[in-house]
Each structure stands twice: as structure tokens, then as C-alpha cells.
Subunit: 415 residues, 2 copies
């Protein structure tokens, strides 16, 4: 597809210049972008209203409309997020390691931008701003391809951001939106491995799976978050109760919320009764294993498929296990390698759990809800990776870079 090819080539050309742009230049461009965006509120809101009107005509669900709508607070959030990104340290140019060889060669492992990043997302216009600006800050050119339902909002946002960026010295082509909202355009982008170095899909599991299957470009992704909290026999049950409640109830619709609670049989009776009462008052539906239902008979029955389900809702699977080995085995079998926690006072249990659970983030005595770029102190988040390659767990600016080796010598030749 000619138009996508041209977008790719423009981005690749721009990426050479953007990669070597100084930190101050990038930061002042981001400030300009925030400022022009702020003064373009009317224009953006009008474009967003057109999208909302069309989506309502198509009888989209209320949660869909929710994600599509830019509220006044949401707009302010977008502007603020650009300013926050401009204040973060620039990862580019960091010397990750440096050493000298016996022959005098000085080897530096230096952090550099990846190149051109393609972001594929659904109808959340704020992704255009957040993801776009994170890429610019990390020296990467970005090709945005948002959902068809948000096209007017995205066109307006990218137009404003681009005007400010280019007038502030960011190379043209650094920030582009694919205006063609057909599936064929996505497919063409996913095969543009000549120009695009990385694809990051953001959205539901179906979108991510489709992108991964079709892409000839590396994809960093997370399919789902089936997160566990395991309450060990030696757990401080007060901590266990607070962490489990927080992990399930504080925000059940997100990927780092708990979906399955595992409880050691020794503490099951003492822990489960009051815990499930508390969940009940919070409106949480329980699906328990036979042991759980012996202790709390009113609990529902967990089917095999419950252990592998991401509810994203006030539903919780509960299983009583005989020992820590069974808990680890359960997590490594049914989990999604995202975030899992143990509540324990035993050092051996803490070590065993954190060594053997094969997940991006393993917690000891804390809620799984902390898996988040902001909570980790990264200042911003591009997403969370459950992959093992390149980036694992929360992805901030650093995870949008790669490295190169720069070697200084004074005439060394190989013997």
C-alpha cells in the first residue's frame, strides 16, 4: 500500500535526525506541544464531539463511549502528561556500561533510540498524545494508528501536536497518524519491517492477538493479567486481608488486579471466613474450589476454565492449596506471567516464591496493583510487557531504547 510505505519512509528518514536531537531541544518542543494543545481545546473538543455523535449513531456501548470521550478533566490530563514527559530524564546517550580491554580499546555500551515505532490502538484518543510524546522524548519516530471511531479526535490532536513540534525543530515525519482506517492499512503497517522497528499494540486481547499473528515486525505486548495472591501458612493475616482486598476491589477492571486467591490449607479456615465476608459486602462474586466451599458453603463453584480467566470484574476464583509448591505450580500453569504476590513471614517461602514464579513482577507482602510505570517510579508508562524479550513488566522511557557499542581505539588491529 503506497501511502503506508510513504509514511514509513518519511518516519525512517526523520528518525536519523530525531535520534541525535539534544535533550533541551526535545524538551522545549514538548513544552510547545503542551502549550499549543492547551490553547486548541475548542478545536479538539469539537472534533471529539463529531466522533461521539457517530459512535452513538452506531449504538456503541457506554464503556466504549466512555473511553472515546475527552472530558474537560481528561483534556487537562493530556496537557499535563506532555509536561510531565518533558520533565523526565532523557534516556538517550546514557552510558550503560564502560570498560577497557587489555589492548587499550575503550568499549562503551550506550543507550540509543530504537528508530520508528508503530502504535496500534483502539478508540482512546489520549493514547495519541501519551504514546506519541513518549516516543518523541525517547528519540523515536512514531506512526500512530488509532481506531476508526476516534479518527476525528486523532486527526485534530496530531495536527496540533505536529504543528507545535515542527515549529520547535522536531523533524517533520517524527509524529504521523495513519488516516486510512481500513484493516488493509493496519496490515500494510505490520509488514513495513523495512522502516518500522517495533510495534506496540494497546487494547483488548483480540486486537493484540491479531496484531501479533500478522506482524513481521517485533511486537511487545501483554495479552492479559491473570494475577494471583498466595496466602502462605506463615502469613500475617492482617496484611493478607488488606492486600487481597486491595488487589481485587480497588480497581477490578485493570490488568494488575487479582483474579485468583490461593490459600494455604493451614490458615484457610481462619483466613477465608472473614475474608469472603468482606468480599461479599464489597459485591465480589466468589468461585471456589471444593475445599473453599467446605469452609464457606455459599461460595460458587470454580470450573476448570475459571483458573485461566481474566474477569476484569468483581469476580474472584479461590483455591486452597496443600503447600507453596502447589501454589507456584498453579501460578506457572494458569497465570499470565504478569504479577503475582505471596503473603508470608517466612524468608524461605519469600525466596522460593520469588525465584520460582515465572512472572514479570513478583511481590512479597504487597499488592499486585503496584505493577505500573508510575508506581515503579518510571514517571510515565507506555504499557506493560508480559513478554520476556527486550522489555518485561512496566515500560517507561528506558524500555523504548536499545543500545549500541561505541569503541574507541588508537589504531588497534586484531592479531
Amino acid at each position: 500500500m503506497k501511502e503506508i510505505e510513504l509514511i514509513g519512509k518519511r518516519a525512517k528518514d526523520a528518525s536519523r535526525k530525531l535520534a541525535v536531537l539534544g535533550t533541551n531541544d526535545k524538551n522545549s518542543a514538548l513544552e510547545e506541544m503542551a502549550s499549543l494543545l492547551k490553547s486548541s481545546e475548542d478545536k479538539i473538543m469539537k472534533a471529539n464531539e463529531r466522533d461521539i455523535k457517530k459512535a452513538k449513531g452506531k449504538k456503541r456501548s457506554s464503556s466504549f463511549l466512555d473511553r472515546l470521550t475527552i472530558t474537560s478533566a481528561g483534556f487537562k490530563g493530556m496537557v499535563d502528561s506532555i509536561l510531565r514527559i518533558s520533565e523526565l530524564p532523557d534516556p538517550v546517550g546514557e552510558v550503560i556500561k564502560m570498560w577497557k580491554r587489555p589492548n587499550g580499546l575503550e568499549i562503551r555500551k550506550v543507550r540509543v533510540p530504537i528508530g520508528v515505532i508503530g502504535i496500534i490502538y483502539e478508540a482512546r484518543p489520549n493514547v495519541s498524545v501519551d504514546a506519541g510524546c513518549l516516543c518523541i522524548k525517547s528519540g523515536n519516530c512514531v506512526i500512530l494508528r488509532g481506531g476508526a471511531d476516534a479518527i476525528n479526535s486523532n486527526l485534530a490532536l496530531v495536527d496540533v501536536l505536529n504543528k507545535a513540534a515542527v515549529s520547535a525543530g522536531i523533524p517533520g515525519g517524527s509524529l504521523q497518524l495513519v488516516e486510512n482506517t481500513s484493516h488493509a492499512a493496519v496490515d500494510a503497517l505490520l509488514r513495513l519491517d523495512k522502516y518500522v522497528a517495533l510495534i506496540i499494540p494497546r487494547g483488548g486481547e483480540n486486537l493484540i492477538r491479531a496484531v501479533t499473528e500478522r506482524s513481521t515486525i517485533p511486537v511487545i505486548k501483554h495479552y492479559k493479567g491473570i494475577c494471583h495472591v498466595y496466602v502462605d501458612s506463615s502469613a500475617d493475616l492482617k496484611i493478607a486481608r488488606e492486600v487481597c482486598f486491595n488487589a481485587k476491589v480497588q480497581r477490578p477492571g485493570v490488568c494488575n488486579a487479582m483474579e485468583t486467591m490461593l490459600v494455604h490449607k493451614k490458615v484457610a479456615k481462619r483466613f477465608l471466613k472473614p475474608m469472603l465476608d468482606r468480599f461479599k459486602s464489597a459485591g465480589v462474586e466468589i468461585r471456589g474450589c471444593p475445599e473453599t466451599r467446605k469452609i464457606v458453603p455459599r461460595a460458587g463453584r470454580a470450573a476448570e476454565k475459571d483458573w485461566g480467566t481474566e474477569y476484569l470484574d468483581l469476580v474472584l476464583s479461590v483455591k486452597v492449596v496443600s503447600n507453596i509448591e502447589e501454589a507456584i505450580e498453579h501460578i506457572n500453569t494458569y497465570g499470565s506471567s504478569h504479577s503475582d504476590a505471596i503473603i508470608t513471614t517466612g524468608l524461605d517461602s519469600a525466596k522460593k516464591f520469588s525465584n520460582e514464579v515465572d512472572s514479570a513482577c513478583v511481590y512479597v507482602n504487597a499488592s499486585t496493583r503496584f505493577t505500573d510505570g508510575g508506581e515503579f517510579g518510571f514517571g510515565a508508562e507506555m504499557g506493560i510487557s508480559t513478554d520476556k524479550f527486550h522489555a518485561r513488566g512496566p515500560m517507561g522511557l528506558e524500555e523504548l531504547t536499545t543500545y549500541k557499542y561505541v569503541v574507541y581505539g588508537n589504531g588497534q588491529i586484531r592479531q
Copy 2:
């Protein structure tokens, strides 16, 4: 394919145990493996002779037979390489970073094994030993799939290594050879993403391309090495002559040898005449641009396709450029992002070149031939990556690991 599925499952099961095995346990197993291999020389040599006899019957080329043959020195080299790997520091468990959040959470970024690695290679039996032992040392289970022509050698080698490994406490299934030498077996392995986390192909460009196209598992690879040396206007011409000669002639058949020499027009006349004379006495065929041929008329003519050709032989493309920008543009257009060098006395040129050349290894005043795990001080090498993801440049033990976040708290919940 049932048998490949079973190999994958066995490896995945073993990987949980191998990942948490202590450094001393892994090292003493490697020592046992070296010792049993050493005392099995006769058996290995007989198996290798059967392969050689069959390959001769098939009229394989002499360079093919060369790679297939285990010489007595080569055998000693295999044993030594295991001992060297046992002496290297264990990358697993290293705390890459650690920080504390304001709420008291202690976040550790810890180095962990990748899991199961598949190695696909041609008729070089030493890869079974080197790659296999590097994987074990880094806590990864390995599935080896060598070429059909080396099957007897590989069977004998892996049998010996496995006996020693298992008797020394390495979990069974950590080191497996695919005995089925059909293409269907490779295809099945490349789709085993349920169990295998990474594929590393080792061999010619055709093998690597075929593996990459068919694999549903991440592949780390390097297609080719089209390496450049650029002689800047401010170059110390004595250094330039030694480095260029070394980069081309010392071992022309390897990926980090120079294939194209770029020369600034200001020094072209002074540099090229004696340099091309020296190359001529070493038997190097020159293919030059029109400017080069004005200076040295006997030089051959470079066609467009020469700039993108990896000769792996005593052939060199030569181009005179007007400035450093043209040199960088040429390298980023025709190069393979492997290793490129500048010879200069100017600090600005050195910085510009190392910033803007988009290659895994960029050299200032040194030969491209240093791109090598051993020369970088990694102690061993699994290969070289021209990819930008996960690993770039020489890959040692560290590049065979990923990381996880281990977070300790004392009951923190998300507000």
C-alpha cells in the same frame, strides 16, 4: 509433531529446576561434562568419521567437510571451551538495579534465565558443545537441532554430555538433541512457542532467513556483515593503512571483516595509491567507484550491487566520498548494521560518526574485526546480533538472560 512436542514439554519442565540451580552445581556439572567428553574421544571420533564418509559419498565441498570434521585439535578445543564456560561468572541472580519507593516498596530488577532456547545450525558439531554449554551455564534448557550431515557426531556428543550432566545433578531434559533430521521437525520446533522462548539460528544467510520467516518464536540473528571503514580527511594515514589492511585481510571469511572502504576525497590520492598496492600484494581484488579508478586505473569497476554484497573473500569495494555525511549515508544505506569504523583525529568527526551510524558496533580508530564476544571480554560467544531487540552485537552469557522484578513490601496497598 508428537515427538517435538514431547521434547519441548520435557525441556520446559526441566527449565523450572535448572533456572534455580546454584552456580556451584552448574559449574561442577560442566567440569564433569568436560571430563567425560575428554575420555570419550575415540567414540566421538568414530561417529564423526561415519558422518565424514557419508558426506564424501554425497560429494560435499571441501569447505563443508572442513566444518564437519572434528580434528584432534578441534576436539581439545571443545573440551577446553566447556572448562572456560564453567569458569565464567554466572549471570543468573545478578541484581541489575535496586531502588526503594517513597511508600517503602523495595524493587529489585533481577537477572533470570530465559527458559528454553532452540539452536538451529548446520554441519558444525562443535556448536552442539559450545551453544549447549552456554545455555546450561546461563540456566536455560536447550534444544539442539543440527544439520543432517552431522547427526552421528551430534548424537555421540550429546549422549556423552547428557550422561555427565544428569549424573552431576542437571535435570534430565536440560540438553536435548532433535534426532529427526527432516525439515518437518524444524518447522514443528519453530512453532513450539508454548514451550520454547527463543530461537537462535547459526549458519548461512539462507538458513537464517528460512528460520526467521517460519518461526512463531522470537529469533535473534544476524543476516550478514557488510562492514565499512571510513578514512576521514583528518585521519592518521598510518593508522588508517594498518586498520584497513587488518579489517580486510587478517581473516576475510568472517562477518566482521571489512567489505567496503570509504575514503574522504581530500586524502584519497595520498592514501589510496600505496594502500591499493599493499592490497594487491596480498591478493585483494579491488572494485572501485569512478573516482577510485581515476586515482588507481587498474582497479576494477564497482557495480551498484557491490555496495550491498558480503564478499567473505579477498575482494574489496572502494568509494571516494565528498564528506563525512556522505560516508554515514552510504553506511546506513548499504550496510548491515553490524560493525563500522572511522579513522580520524577529529573529535567532532568521531562523535558524529559514532552517533549517526546505526550499527551494533561503531569503532573509532580500531579494526572492525574486534566485534567478537572474546575480544569484548565476554569470555564466550553465542553469536552476534544485528537485531535491535533484546541483544545487539556480540552475545555472551548475559545476553542469554532476561529479567524479572522482585518487589518486597510490608503490606503496601495501592491508594
